[in-house]
């Protein structure tokens, strides 16, 4: 009986815990900044995932990336511009990998869906431009949406 008194509340607690997956998204926007193009330069738009970007009470839950959506701006006076998207695991300074994307465009990459995701993860969109007038100004901002479930 004493055992049941302990067990029953535990069963109720476990039974009441949500067992379904929740789909969520984090969207961030950043400017890649001004590029001094003298001999070829880079503009970085950094997207850092913070604890505050997750709902309270979910930090300990395992999160699975479902895709990273990107939307890029361009340096309009630099036709030789190239753009890369790189992903970093939580609190890691080393990239998992990078993929080339397009300027002034949008899309989704799933390369990193199997990678750990949570606070401290990061995406950097790197614009490289050379030639053209100096300095080079971006026409707008880059946007990244991390779609995930927990």
């Amino acid at each position: 009986m004493k055992f049941m008194k302990i067990l029953l509340p535990l069963v109720f607690v476990l039974a009441s815990a949500p067992s379904f997956a929740v789909d969520a998204a984090i969207t961030k926007t950043a400017s890649p900044g001004v590029i001094i193009v003298t001999n070829g330069g880079t503009g970085l738009a950094q997207f850092n995932i913070l604890s505050a970007n997750f709902p309270s009470g979910t930090l300990s839950k395992t999160k699975t990336l479902l895709g990273i959506d990107w939307q890029t701006t361009l340096y309009p006076n630099n036709p030789g511009e190239t753009v890369q998207l790189c992903y970093y695991r939580p609190y890691s300074s080393t990239e998992v990998g990078c993929t080339t994307i397009l300027r002034n465009s949008s899309g989704t990459v799933s390369n990193f869906n199997t990678q750990p995701f949570g606070p401290g993860a990061k995406v950097i969109i790197r614009h490289f431009a050379n030639g053209g007038p100096q300095p080079a100004y971006p026409a707008g901002q880059d946007t990244v949406t991390f779609r995930y479930s927990y």
Binding site: G41, N53, S56, S93, T100, G107, S110, R126
Partner: protein, 326 residues
Amino acid sequence: MKIDDIVTAYVQNVGMPRKNEDLINSSHKSASVTSTAESNQSTSVSLSGRAIMLSRLFGTQNSNTEPPVVSGVNGMDLKHIGMSPQNFLTTSDRALLSDMYEYAQQQGADLQNVDQLAYALGTYRQSNDGRSMSSFNGGNSFDLEGHQLTVSFNEKDAATAARILNGDAINSTKLDQGFLRYTLDPGYGALSNTSDFEFMEQMVIKFSDVGAKQMSLPSKFSTFSYRVINESAVFTASKQILNPNPASTFKPQIINDNGKWIVLDPSVLEDNLFEQALTQQKMKLTTSQNEMIVNTLFANDHKVSKNSQLFDVLKLLSIPGTTKKP
């Protein structure tokens, strides 16, 4: 002072006013050049090419101020991703590019052709000889509707790439074969190489064992035009939606948009806490009220009264009444 003549000729031909004064007036350079010229005639020619390389890629004419070679083994880590690719060109890359500049100048070619080749090679070095990069054609690139995307070269570039890869010169060229096979793979090169492939082909041949056959560069290289990626790359989208989680049909229950919370389904919050908060307020969250929350946030009216239900929701999300930036 033959070297000074050559350098001056470069200055006159190429016309880079920003660098002319330094190039001509640098006493240190003059001493170095004179000494080398007196000792070795052939070295004087390569020095001129080197001067061009240093000027165009590094903004200096003084070899003592040439940026050191940065190793690409760390790929695009946080310390290196912001650096310019030319810093990763190896000593042998820089020597070869110097020869290319020298040759291109002699042939009256626009030196931007060599610049772009240098940037493509430098980007390859910076990404740890391509190891940091994933192919665009690896099956992980999609449009927002979920169609899988692949990229290929246009007809002209594809033909040039095939000639380079299947020609004799690639077996003996000084241009890194690994780089050539990487950049001529459309999954890597179609979106990252802005150099003229036909000029690259000329360089592959010229600086190979069969280079003697190539007497002169075609006159079309006297002008330069970027290989504009959006025009030169050919994209193909799959007919079917192959992304199991396409962006266009994704319906998140909760969104953090640049620090602002958008709750589309409050049931995803911690149930007990949410119910408890609502009970304390003696309120029941209805569908219309959910819409009110969403509409309020989408309307950018983020200031929330501490007496409102929305405040309770945001409080549960650890948002103190107003939205905040990350």
